[in-house]
């Protein structure tokens, strides 16, 4: 390539989860903030080590379920008791025990939809293109390698010193991630 591509981040590759956890802790201690870690399976506590303070997802899902439940019951009540009251076998128009099953199903449906779509949205997925995929060895991030990434946007970022810092963590290798 004629033009040197712009740098997105610098990335270090590790062989074991423990090395990565230690490296993340070291990077945090060093003062880096715009960092990310990539692992082939979820590692308990890693996000917290990165400085992730927790997700609003449970609250959003709860609200989704609440909406589904209240909305579901109201829909049935409105249909059966307000909009078109039909006498079926002498049962009350507001047959609330009979409305429970559908209310329940809609609570679950709504909460589950919010859970999945909310998770994807908060993760900004789908994102088929991402700079990290430019790194050839990143294909192993979904197999058995663990990556620590420090973005150029970080206030402390300096291509040279950050590379040196990462090299001191004894990774398998340190690579540049082009935009």
């Amino acid at each position: 390539m004629a033009v040197e591509p712009k740098l997105h981040a610098v990335m270090a590759e590790f062989a074991t989860p423990q090395e990565l956890i230690d490296a993340v802790a070291a990077a945090r201690a060093h003062g880096y903030r715009q960092i990310d870690a990539f692992t082939p399976f979820p590692i308990e506590g890693l996000a917290e080590t990165l400085g992730f303070t927790g997700t609003r997802l449970p609250l959003i899902i709860f609200l989704g379920g609440l909406f589904g439940g209240v909305g579901g019951f109201w829909m049935q009540y409105w249909c059966a008791a307000i909009n078109y009251p039909v006498n079926i076998g002498g049962r009350p128009l507001n047959s609330w025990p009979s409305f429970i099953p559908v209310t329940f199903e809609l609570t679950i449906l709504s909460a589950a939809l919010v859970a999945v779509l909310g998770m994807l949205a908060l993760n900004r997925l789908p994102m088929p293109y991402h700079p990290v995929f430019n790194v050839p060895s990143f294909a192993l991030a979904s197999r058995d390698r663990f990556f620590l990434l420090i973005e150029t946007g970080d206030p402390l970022f300096d291509a040279e010193s950050t590379r040196t810092f990462l090299n001191e963590l004894h990774p398998r290798q340190v690579v540049d991630v082009p935009e």
Partner: protein, 219 residues
């Protein structure tokens, strides 16, 4: 690993998700527009008849009462189509030479009914009775519209079940005194507002629950 997708695919993926959503909403909307449109319901579309009979002329200009032709409307489920004899009552005297009326004369000669194109057609599973509506005070115009202004007859309303229910759920607004049932021009706005309530009581009109019970119309 080389990138599998070009940078632009991030945008493309978002746009395609959004367009699927918009498309689904659009399709639903389109289904509604088509489903309620005259294309499906046939409302407001005048139909070609063997003889271009004009209600506007006969009712509006000449002032013939509905019952002159639709004789059984007060006593039976069907309003009844007039036999050719009814036409000939007048048309053997006037316009007897008109070529337009030749099918009428031919029908009379051959003793064969005219094959009118039916306008108001309800499904077989609906039990509709004209006489009960007339006697409870529902005017012809409520369902058939201003036939006195129709050169060629068309269906004024959709005749969808929802349209029937509009009235069955709140019949009060559509009631008129017995004297005005066959009037094309009577208007409730000139009457006292409690007329509906009075007619409901006088005509013994049952509650909404019975008027909207399934078996009232589907027997």
């Amino acid at each position: 690993m080389p990138q599998i997708f070009h940078r632009s695919f991030n945008t493309i993926s978002k746009v395609s998700i959004a367009s699927v959503v918009i498309l689904l909403i659009g399709l639903t909307g389109a289904t509604y527009v088509v489903g309620w449109s005259p294309y499906v319901t046939q409302e407001q579309i005048a139909r070609v008849q063997p003889v271009p009979f004009s209600h506007q002329h006969h009712v509006g200009q000449l002032g013939i009462d509905c019952r002159y032709c639709h004789t059984s409307v007060e006593t039976s489920a069907f309003a009844g189509m007039p036999p050719t004899k009814t036409c000939m009552n007048c048309h053997q005297e006037i316009w007897f030479g008109s070529s337009m009326l030749e099918p009428v004369r031919e029908s009379y000669r051959k003793d064969q009914s005219i094959a009118w194109e039916r306008i108001h057609n309800l499904p077989q599973f609906v039990y509709f009775n004209h006489s009960i509506h007339i006697h409870k005070g529902v005017g012809c115009v409520s369902c058939h519209g201003r036939v006195d202004q129709m050169p060629l007859t068309y269906q004024e309303h959709s005749l969808l079940m929802g349209w029937c229910l509009d009235c069955h759920r709140d019949p009060k607004k559509h009631l008129r005194p017995a004297s005005a049932v066959f009037s094309m021009t009577w208007s409730a706005s000139a009457e006292p507002s409690e007329l509906g309530d009075r007619l409901m009581k006088e005509n013994h009109i049952r509650g909404v629950e019975q008027l909207t019970s399934c078996s009232t119309c589907h027997r």
